[in-house]
Symmetry: C2
Subunit: 156 residues, 2 copies
């Protein structure tokens, strides 16, 4: 993983840095959690998170610019036009990141009443977790996982 000063800004060789640059602050993770839970409307994000309107606007706009959410307009009878926010395919794939953060917190920083969310297969009902998987779709234990530098890895 890239050893260099240019790790945080966009265009960094390190893909962790580029992803974290999109998510940027803790509120982004919470906005994403709500979006994955089906929330689309500004007022519902605000009520769910107890977040100031200007911070929420800034975070939603950044996630739209990053290609995680799309902004759409909707209008209810007798009301003015409003915006709603919907996950893109790329945004939906962040469920893997969210699931990994969630299971780590439940395992290593447990809450008194236990996990508030569980992950299950909608098809089989079996419990799910996030893990490393090989190209045959089989789980590989963490002690067998190797991170290797490619030819693109920057020289020091």
């Amino acid at each position: 993983m890239g050893r260099m000063t240019k790790t945080i800004r966009g265009g960094a060789p390190c893909s962790i840095a580029r992803t974290v640059d999109v998510l940027k602050d803790p509120w982004s993770f919470m906005v994403l959690r709500e979006a994955l839970d089906g929330v689309t409307r500004f007022a519902d994000f605000r009520a769910g998170l107890g977040i100031a309107s200007d911070i929420l606007t800034e975070r939603l706009t950044a996630l739209v610019e990053a290609g995680v959410l799309t902004r759409e307009q909707y209008q209810e009878p007798g009301s003015r036009a409003r915006h709603s926010y919907h996950l893109t395919a790329a945004g939906t794939e962040l469920a893997v990141v969210i699931g990994a953060l969630q299971q780590w917190g439940d395992e290593h920083l447990p809450w008194q009443a236990g996990p508030t969310i569980e992950r299950r297969s909608a098809r089989t009902g079996r419990p799910l977790h996030v893990a490393f998987v090989d190209d045959r779709g089989r789980e590989v234990p963490l002690e067998q996982v190797s991170f290797r530098r490619t030819a693109s890895y920057p020289a020091r």
Copy 2:
């Protein structure tokens, strides 16, 4: 996932919030990346990240307090005692989070020269990715993943 104002601080019902609270800022992810790459010494973290000493000290201390790293003392002949930092078992499990961030960045925010790191099985050499897996160790496609609220989920 938890709809409430108390999402960011420790003790929140939401395990995503609790984990993000440990990682807190982008530097934590970069420190963790270096630790997973085998870095243990303060000077090596500093050289690898191009980060100010006081920020690095603050981040390392926070990760020690959170149980992600342990601090040990070492002394080389003719030098004063220094600290080194080592991943705990809990810290090592954050590789799943790091791998998920990495693959998302490589997929959706590709760098010009391609991925700098690849993940492979140390046993079989097969390429690895991070995904949802059921209790039989079989990958489950994202469209079949269901996040469900448990009885511990807080009432609004």
